[in-house]
Symmetry: C2
Subunit: 340 residues, 2 copies
């Protein structure tokens, strides 16, 4: 067996409190990972077996200006966790609190990977029967064509290395399937990807995404973030409407009750805690950002995914894919003969 992977976890910011994050860390430790938890020792209480708690009570999870907070608060738990990854005490980062502070601390301390324009936040969307890795869902507001191209290679390499997808089908989110459709940046990225080394399936629209047309879907951080929240909103509204209708008559009530086990099964299938959160790609190490409302199960899954990314060398594979395609920043041009 190889050495256990060490994951640094920021325990501040979770809705259920730092003790729930620590409980998730304990679950992950049982799976063979070494976990360093940065958070308020007093709130965590008894240190769970297999977990090392570093007392770090200062939280910047709710800061409205994460970048400034990261610089001005060196003892913040997320900053200490990111520094542990940067100095090699840990191999990957899990941030249970805010995406903004995780991104800022990651950029400032772990730093961008060599040749990477911008990191991206990749979220696995648990579509029943057709899971999709969507990126960027909000690390950036605007994304140039060469950023989109890098997102495509990073997402594809991560899906192959960590999510077990063989030759992931990569699509570019656009307002039409024809290569000419999209903003100028989308159209330019399409041309690059079409000549690249990925299993590129071209532009995809929302309807085909939900029907499983691609494993990895690439978009700019603004559109991706808007899309993500719309999907959440539509799901919630529809499930509520179905529930309301199920209560609308005695007949429907009985029907709803009979269907409940099947609907619970559906809910479990689209459980957002399963994939462990969003993946922060493009730094020198992998970050995983579980949702603040997760329970210990979700936090344990986040640590699991981060550890798997380390043992599967996701960062190295992303770099190799980008290099082979000539898509690293500063690459003078595409190599004459491209080999994956």
């Amino acid at each position: 067996m190889s050495e256990p992977v060490t994951v640094a976890v920021d325990a501040n910011g979770a809705d259920l409190g730092p003790a729930e994050v620590a409980a998730g860390a304990a679950l992950a430790a049982q799976r063979g990972h070494r976990v360093l938890v940065f958070g308020p020792a007093a709130e965590i209480g008894d240190v769970p077996a297999g977990v090392e708690v570093i007392d770090a009570p200062v939280s910047i999870a709710k800061s409205p200006e994460p970048a400034r907070a990261v610089r001005s608060t060196p003892d913040a738990s997320i900053v200490q966790a990111a520094r542990a990854v940067a100095d090699g005490s840990a191999d990957a980062l899990v941030a249970a609190g805010s995406t903004g502070s995780a991104l800022a601390a990651g950029l400032f301390h772990i730093r961008r990977g060599r040749g990477i324009h911008r990191p991206a936040l990749a979220l696995p969307i648990p579509i029943p029967g057709a899971p999709v890795l969507l990126l960027d869902v909000g690390a950036n507001v605007e994304s140039r064509a060469d950023h989109l191209v890098q997102f495509a290679y990073m997402g594809s390499a991560f899906a192959a290395a960590v999510l077990g997808v063989d030759e992931p089908r990569v699509g570019l989110l656009s307002n039409g399937e024809e290569p000419s459709k999209g903003t100028p940046d989308v159209v330019a990225a399409h041309v690059e990807l079409d000549h690249g080394t990925l299993n590129f399936v071209g532009n995809v629209e929302g309807t085909s995404v939900m029907a499983g047309a691609a494993d990895v879907v690439v978009t700019d951080g603004f559109t991706g973030n808007v899309a993500l929240k719309l999907m959440e909103g539509v799901s919630a509204a529809l499930m509520k409407a179905v529930r309301d209708q199920a209560m609308s008559s005695n007949r429907a009530k009985v029907g709803g009750a009979l269907m409940r086990p099947a609907l619970v099964e559906l809910r479990d299938e689209i459980d957002p805690e399963g994939p462990g959160g969003a993946y922060l790609l493009g730094l020198r190490r992998i970050g995983v950002v579980p949702h603040g409302r997760f329970t210990r199960t979700g936090f344990a899954n986040a640590i699991d995914v981060a550890a798997k990314a380390v043992s599967e060398q996701a960062v190295e594979r992303m770099h190799e894919a980008l290099e082979a395609a000539g898509a690293l920043r500063g690459a003078s041009e595409r190599p004459a003969s491209v080999t994956g």
Copy 2:
């Protein structure tokens, strides 16, 4: 009683054929509107009562380059219909075929309203209990801040004049609720709208849109089109998942059967034919673009909405709102004293 409104209808391009569109026109004629139908007389057959059919068999509904097709095909049905509106033979346009050719013919023949940067396509999203007018859903690919501002005024005036919404709450689709969130164009539009004359509720995210936070939601045509198709995709995928689960066991089958009437009611409530289609705003006359898969009911509703927009002077009210807010193109600056 006022004079009947005359609506020019392009009957080419509908999935069920020109006769179905003509049948919709007949329904609309029964409601007191005068309808000119441009399409292949041979396929329409017996002319329904109250409808005037102008034989126009040439269709450019499936053209991949609508702008070029509009210029090179003066006898195309959509071009003849748009010309009828432009020369005053009709008061508004309904295009049953393709959005692209309707937009191109509208721009070329009906032309942009005075002081309007770009027309926008506004789609009423039939969210149960909280209908929303979303614009732009694809008339443009990129939208500058001053375009977004005009969309907001046009959408608000249309919702008030035609959809019966009193002082519509207008939101700006973004990746966060804070005014600082969004692309530079979204942030700049936010500032303008915050100082404007609308009932502006600020930035909205997908989750709050689906929860009814705004009556009119403004975004660029790329994001709006992507959002629209994602909403369609998520709805279809979820309804399918619920249906599949309802067939997953005998118990669930009985439950599904008992719930069916309630679910049919829900489906009727989110019937896309109800609002008649998407509204083309920003031309000198109103256009309505029903979906190609509509039945006669949807086409009749489209004609109805177009006629109502004429009798309620929607174009004039949009212009007045834009003028009062100093948001017309070429307006030197906001007037010192703004009156709605």
